[in-house]
């Protein structure tokens, strides 16, 4: 039990990551458009800086500590729990958030009504506060509240674009998410009723007692099922992905980059914490949910890609590819081994870096083709917008799993994780990886070849100045993808060393 007075100053940094964007969201609503944007960018950079400092100060991956919120000690008060896994995830989330916002900033003028732009910044800040709160909190009900804040702000991010079918997309998104959060909340209430605790470590103690005595066995399994299904609906696991193509495909580029790369990952991270810290892997295996996730993950990996192949709109194609990639993450969780969890964590980061870049570069290519989104119209756009073309190629190659890029390391991780298993799981995973990679190659290389083919008739490029920030964001994202491919070993080792502390009921 940590006492507030015994904490070093740097240990309050996670509080900065949560409260800074949350507080400035309130201020931003009254700021004029241009100031609001600058302020948001500054706050997001500060959040990124705070998470870097936190990671540096924490240093030792096997170390973790709790931060009491308010003055009440552990079983009563609310608390944060900080370890290396949380720090790294927060670091990459805030970086991708910052870059997506910077990259999509110029398009906001075009897509969003003039006087609503500072409100858009409010939503970005709220989302980023909710993300870091979900990453750090150790209290189940707090994570529910922030899950809902994230849902509401992402619904606003989808609907913010004034044109197209965004309102319908947002309504469908809300309906699916309401279903998911109702199931999650019911599971949470059952769990509170069974254990009497809301802090994850104390729940784990009570659950362990219940499991070993065999008491309330059915109720526990129903609880695990409700929470897992609720969060997987919210994170768009196949077959709950029907809202994805509309939501990602029609909103403004910054929104689709943030939604596809971060929002679903936030829910998955909460689920990971529940599985590792609250329930414990043994109960999760006992409930059979791991096999269910495994099957749907495999189906999602393949059928998501099949749907992507059939798309004629480049942004909807990338959105369907997200469905397949969420399948990969759930595959790691469904395997349930330590290696599987590590692969899932690494893929969360890798996919975030890659998908945000793909959405940003696709929007640039579309602009260079006169605003038409169909694949055919993109012909030759790689020549018209060279850097954007390069970014798209890097993203596509990373998705396919080309060496030296993040996606390759991720796929190797999943294959290696499958090697620990007996025949059935092992061959299914390998087969799924092969089919999915083959489909990925098909639909991504098709676009890559297309954007470098000479168009039949000269397309008039719309003279839109894409701006320094857009270029900066793309270059940074390309660098990040190469880093994840080349320097991944350190990250993987850090995750491995940090996982025991992450899944322990109490720190130390």
């Amino acid at each position: 039990m940590t006492d507030a007075s015994s904490l070093a100053l740097w240990q309050s940094l996670p509080l900065v990551c949560i409260l800074l964007p949350l507080g400035s969201a309130a201020v931003t609503s009254v700021l004029p458009k241009r100031t609001a944007r600058c302020w948001t960018a500054i706050v997001l950079s500060l959040q990124f800086l705070a998470s870097i400092l936190l990671t540096l100060f924490l240093r030792d991956p096997s170390r973790s500590y709790t931060f009491p919120m308010g003055h009440f000690p552990a079983p009563w008060g609310n608390e944060l729990r900080i370890g290396m896994v949380e720090c790294l995830i927060c670091l990459f989330f805030s970086l991708v958030m910052l870059l997506s916002f910077l990259g999509g900033m110029r398009r906001l003028d075009q897509d969003i009504v003039e006087d609503k732009q500072s409100l858009y910044c409010v939503m970005i800040l709220l989302m980023s506060a909710a993300l870091s709160a979900q990453v750090f909190t150790n209290d189940l009900f707090t994570s529910y509240v922030f899950v809902e804040i994230m849902t509401l702000s992402s619904s606003a991010l989808i609907a913010s674009r004034a044109r197209g079918r965004t309102v319908l997309a947002s309504a469908r998104y809300m309906i699916m998410n309401m279903l998911g959060s109702s199931l999650f909340l019911l599971g949470l209430v059952f769990l509170y009723d069974l254990t009497g605790h809301l802090l994850m470590g104390h729940i784990r103690e009570a659950v362990d007692v219940l499991v070993s005595s065999g008491e309330n066995h059915l109720a526990l399994i129903v609880t695990v099922a409700l929470m897992t299904v609720g969060l997987s609906i919210k994170s768009a696991l196949f077959p709950f992905h029907t809202w994805v193509p509309d939501a990602y495909g029609s909103s403004t580029p910054a929104s689709s980059a943030i939604l596809s790369s971060l929002v679903s990952k936030g829910y998955i991270f909460v689920l990971l914490k529940i599985i590792c810290r609250c329930m414990g892997p043994s109960l999760f295996r006992l409930s059979g949910m791991d096999d269910i996730l495994f099957v749907f993950a495999l189906l999602g990996m393949i059928l998501g890609s099949v749907s992507a192949v059939r798309q004629r709109d480049v942004r909807r194609m990338i959105a369907y590819s997200s469905v397949a990639q969420i399948g990969y993450v759930y595959l790691g969780i469904g395997l349930g081994s330590e290696y599987g969890l590590m692969a899932a964590l690494f893929h969360i980061i890798c996919h975030a870096a890659c998908k945000s870049m793909l959405f940003l570069s696709a929007s640039g290519l579309i602009e260079a083709s006169g605003g038409k989104t169909s694949l055919h119209a993109l012909r030759g756009s790689g020549h018209r917008a060279p850097l954007t073309g390069i970014a798209f190629v890097v993203g596509a190659l990373s998705m396919i799993g080309f060496p030296f890029l993040g996606g390759f390391v991720s796929k190797v991780n999943f294959a290696l994780a499958a090697m620990d298993f007996h025949r059935f799981h092992r061959y299914l995973v390998l087969l799924g990886l092969v089919i999915s990679t083959w489909l990925n190659t098909w639909y991504f290389l098709r676009v890559v070849i297309l954007i470098y083919t000479k168009p039949e008739e000269e397309v008039q490029e719309k003279s839109i100045h894409r701006g320094v920030l857009y270029t900066f964001a793309l270059v940074a994202l390309i660098a990040l993808n190469f880093y994840l491919g080349i320097g991944a070993q350190r990250l993987i080792t850090a995750f491995f060393d940090a996982l025991p502390a992450f899944s322990a009921a109490f720190p130390g």
Binding site: A171, M178, S182, L186, V189, Y192
Partner: protein
């Protein structure tokens, strides 16, 4: 004999049982109804059902709210205030969610002049083809 036990169980857990039934009705409405307003009603029902469950589980009959006025400090005299706190927080969250869904419904109705989500979807598709 078992019939009597069953009835006793039923009456002892009346609130929980009705909460779960309400939850089922709400989820069905939310999923299957095509009318946006009915979907919203369904969502409100599911959340209220959960709060009913939480409030019923959190209350022990005969005990009081933990506000010390007559000097009694034994735990057995009071109930745990946390479930009530959770219900309050939850109500705020679900009010916000239904408000957002209602706002989206209003905008959809202004744009397409119908509340039927399937009809709206096909209208939006037609619009895109044109």
């Amino acid at each position: 004999m078992t019939g009597v036990h069953f009835l006793e169980d039923l009456s002892a857990h009346l609130a929980e049982i009705s909460a779960i039934i309400l939850f089922g009705i709400g989820i069905t409405l939310l999923m299957l109804s095509r009318n946006m307003i009915k979907k919203n009603i369904g969502f409100s029902m599911t959340d209220s059902a959960i709060y009913l469950f939480l409030a019923a589980k959190g209350y022990i009959s005969g005990r009081k709210a933990p506000i010390v006025v007559d000097g009694i400090e034994q735990m057995a005299y009071y109930i745990n205030p946390i479930p009530a706190g959770l219900v309050l927080t939850g109500i705020v969250v679900s009010v916000a969610s239904s408000a957002v869904l209602l706002a989206l419904t209003v905008r959809l109705y202004r744009q397409y002049h119908t509340l039927d989500i399937d009809e709206i979807t096909s209208l939006a598709q037609k619009e895109e083809e044109v």
